[in-house]
Symmetry: D2
Subunit: 130 residues, 4 copies
Amino acid sequence: MSLFSVDFKVRDYELDMQGIVNNSVYFNYLEHARHEFLLAKGVDFAALARDKVNLVVVRSEMDYKASLTSGDNFQVTVQFEQISKLKFGFRQQVIRSADQKLMLDALVIGAAINAQGRPFVPDLLALLGQ
Amino acid sequence: MSLFSVDFKVRDYELDMQGIVNNSVYFNYLEHARHEFLLAKGVDFAALARDKVNLVVVRSEMDYKASLTSGDNFQVTVQFEQISKLKFGFRQQVIRSADQKLMLDALVIGAAINAQGRPFVPDLLALLGQ
Amino acid sequence: MSLFSVDFKVRDYELDMQGIVNNSVYFNYLEHARHEFLLAKGVDFAALARDKVNLVVVRSEMDYKASLTSGDNFQVTVQFEQISKLKFGFRQQVIRSADQKLMLDALVIGAAINAQGRPFVPDLLALLGQ
Amino acid sequence: MSLFSVDFKVRDYELDMQGIVNNSVYFNYLEHARHEFLLAKGVDFAALARDKVNLVVVRSEMDYKASLTSGDNFQVTVQFEQISKLKFGFRQQVIRSADQKLMLDALVIGAAINAQGRPFVPDLLALLGQ
């Protein structure tokens, strides 16, 4: 089964003075891919935020393997897993398109609270069909 | 002995649609604090980059404890440690000034290569006086 | 009478591959200085946004005179002026601290609508004491 | 003749607390579209920067007509024009895909200097075939 992934191309404003994509920008890539993943499952992050259901990151682990640079095309994959009753995780990779090289390996762990202060994870899991 | 730290204030453009500082922005905060730490030790990241000595992050672990929001003042601390012959680490915390609440706890691990392709870590350690 | 101004220092993540502050970042600097100006006058942009009073930029003119780079300290000034019944303006400059050199000259024009869809400019002017 | 344009989709990290794309982000969109335009003409901004030929923005005028928000698809157009012997301009528009609504109208004026300190504009014009 193929993983969910989103196609990207490096934009020059994402490069820092070293001429490589700045470390913080990978967070942006991962977040956008997660939101697209959720959207594909019918979970609209923006609509949830407007309804005061806030999905938040509680931990991230990122292994930087190599650096993206100007003109690179790449994919960001998303793999969902339940971590606990209250937490969910996303295993994510950044893969350079030209040679399928793994550039970044990440685990992002999130939690969610709805407007009434109740954990939203069961609803999220139901929506994700797991 | 007091830790090295840099004072910050949240800027509204750093907030996302949830009205809190976006997760990726903490990476910016940590990086700026690390560069200020290095500068205070006589290590100029920008000058090194111009000399093709690239300090790069190879791994980050971040635990998000609570969210900064508009108007918050906070400090970012930096604690250096040698990880191995080739790697160095920074333990960093984001602490809200109003109540000294720990907002983020991080470990950022780096490596460095000089223009001749030799590890730069021994030089870095010498410069940092350790 | 001295102008309102906010002190900044360039952060390395704001530099692009040319080793200078990326053009888009000046917009961030100007916005933060405007919000600090408003706050000093008792107008809290974030609180207004939560109350659905949205201050929005409708036009910007920016003249880039010279480029900030790593380590530069600078000030961003803010001068308010009424443009029309429905619009207000901010004349803003970015001035490098070391030599008082003008780096950027800008005019940012805004409008505001409150939650009931009425123009908020009269209220804003009253708050700004003009 | 159709204009050069680049397709984009709003990413949630680009939204600010008002739930709309932050003003500074449009600069990023415009820059990326300009670099793609140049690349399509055989002018590689990143390669030029490495060769110390710096293309810099000297003035921008931006009229914000309406706000992009989460999920919006849009196009950024690029139209090149010579302004003077030393300056070139880009007329750019941001157009929402769903209804072809004009969201932003911009004029970005640039200059260029090569490594020897000579103006690069004639070379740029030759490359652009004008």
